[in-house]
């Protein structure tokens, strides 16, 4: 018997034509072939050329990751596929909006922790805050975990965006 292959997490950036249905095509490819999506973000990054950038975080064996990249590359509106995890150093960031409700000590404590995490309060009432936090996924997770006992109401997260380090681009 062969050894089971290790499962790794990869962050893949895909440059696509910003045309109707492109997101459905990408998502359909993952669901149709049984691949995993841990997070997916998309937005236009070049207005004149109408290009969007999709960042998808997925996990699988090396064979599955190679297949995912090959299938993405085969979609007609896809310009480029880059496996940031495989290609070298890169940075990943996520943004979250975190709503916390409480009064008294709990309210003060949430502000204090937000300060440590460099989260900003972007909305406040006498009994609530909305914090904006940016950072690695681990940092956001840690912040959210700390807010639970302090009155966490809800969280909205962007999913990961990523870019390679250094001077060169796509």
């Amino acid at each position: 018997m062969k050894q089971p292959q290790p499962i790794n997490r990869h962050t893949i950036a895909v440059l696509v034509d910003n045309e109707p249905g492109i997101l459905a095509r990408v998502v359909g490819l993952f669901s149709g072939r049984g691949y995993n999506i841990e997070s997916l973000t998309v937005a236009e990054v070049e207005q004149a050329e109408q290009l969007s950038r999709i960042t998808v975080v997925t996990s699988g064996t090396e064979q599955v990751i190679e297949q995912i990249k090959a299938h993405l590359g085969r979609l007609v509106p896809v310009h480029k596929v880059h496996d940031l995890t495989a290609e070298g150093p890169h940075v990943e960031r996520e943004l979250a909006l975190v709503k916390v409700a409480g009064t008294g000590d709990r309210r003060v404590e949430s502000l204090r922790i937000a300060d440590i995490f460099r989260a900003r309060a972007i909305d406040s009432t006498t009994e609530s805050f909305v914090f904006e936090i940016t950072g690695s996924q681990e940092k956001v997770n840690a912040f959210v975990a700390l807010m639970i006992p302090l009155g966490l109401v809800e969280v909205s997260r962007t999913g990961i965006v990523a870019i390679s380090r250094g001077a060169s681009g796509f």
Binding site: K2, P20, G21, A24, G28, Q63, A70, V76, P77
Partner: protein
Amino acid sequence: MSDTREMLTGAEIVLRALKDQGVEVIFGYPGGAVLPIYDALFQQNAIRHILVRHEQAAVHAAEGYARSTGKVGCVLVTSGPGATNAVTGLTDALMDSIPLVCLTGQVPTHLIGNDAFQECDTTGITRPCTKHNYLVKDVNNLARTVHEAFYVARTGRPGPVVIDLPKDVQFATGPYIPPATVAHKTYRPRTDADMSVIDRAIDMLLTAERPVIYGGGGIINSGDEASVLLTEFARLTNIPVTLTLMGLGAYPASDRQFLGMLGMHGTYEANLVMHGCDVMFNIGARFDDRVTGRLSAFSPTSKKIHLDIDPSSINKTVMVDLPVIGDVKTVLKALIGRWKERGAQLKAEPLKAWWGQIEEWRKRDSLRYGSNGLIIKPQHAVRRLWELSQGRETFITTEVGQHQMWAAQYFGFEKPRRWMTSGGLGTMGYGLPSAMGVQIAHPDALVVDISGEASVMMNIQEMSTLVQYRLPVKVFILNNQYMGMVRQWQELLHGGRYSESYSESLPDFVKLAEAFGARGFRALDMNDLDDVIRATLDHPGPVIADICVDQKENCFPMIPSGAAHNEMLLGPEDKADPVSTEEGMVLV
């Protein structure tokens, strides 16, 4: 700046673009959402429209046309049910890499999303079953989109492309742009391989003592030249050649180096060569599960070279040692050139020993079949059809089932594009409409649909199309009164419980042919067989030949699903291994 481009209606733009793309025939069926295009069709002569009787048949006909000519097949259907009926054909074309452009009507743009009459989300439904699809909302983009669709359909790994056309866009006026000025922004599949990769392939082949070439449908798709080059390379190296179901005809069946088809119903020698080889050269095939059998036992001792135009075919199910991304003919040409330049030669002694082994396996004569008095053996019927059609330009299509495998095993194909079958999807009902498309493309050729009595019922309405257009297609039914392939699996894997696989209440196919205005012949036993085949081939119009064959015949050799190449069943005397049977039961 004044616009000097020619202004046409959307419907006219479509037809002009088709004409400029070289389309001569379109297979279609009208309806409300495509009436403007039908109106424009009525007023021109450049493109011939073939009116089918069901939209699924339009797509299969276009597939037959495309497969037998190498051109892009073209389909026109209406919105809603027209589009959904086309879905099976589109999926079939995607699985077998057949280039098609399918135009679908759509409700006017302002009604899209309103559940309008005969509205469906065509681009949504067809996204997973096309290579690409488009919804054209602006007549200014129409000409470019049609040209781009043809480009996408035929380049790289070919496939079906859908263009969804709202009715208001067909009426609107816009500019016509000729094809030369349209280029796709990014889609440029790679066709040639680096010389360093070709050198590595040669290095690997030179280590071989037991080599094999395993060729597939990619050779056919690459064009006739690819088959010529394959033959040249095989002769140059004396490497044995086996082909997949989709690849039949890419190498001459009568050649000494040809081992026959491989896989689930492949020959003994082909499968044992695959199992025992030390270097495998896969050319344009995709390690389909019908070919590999149990993956963990597939060709365990070989180094594998895989030439494919589609990078996603590489390492999908079988890990290979050397991927070569490119077009078969381009790469083979470079490979042969380099091989000669390097004065390469395989090790003679081991290769001779390998051929000795192959000749031993050949002696098993795994395609032999018995006789049963006056009862017609289906294999014999195919063999006689093949023998009696010698000297004619013959094209064969099939439905799906045992008859399909017998056709593949007993009809020898010497040239590419003579064999049209539904391989990947396995679509019953493919053969008759596909034969229609082949006959349109080759009016003077002999076109035979080797068929089963169950499959043929799935698109039997197309007899009417054959008669209308005087298409002399021969429907050659191997009538065993069973869904034979289903019955075979039930016999081997489900304890002989023949659940719903008997073809009850069959029509009288001779009378049915006559009812459509065609001819019908029936062979009840061996005394009739040759006469019926001759009469069928000689009749100038469409024919249904009802060949009543042995009802209990099974298709051998067989690798039961879940088994390995060296666990083949050669005949009814072999029993499937219970362990692999249990694993195999859950597979298809």
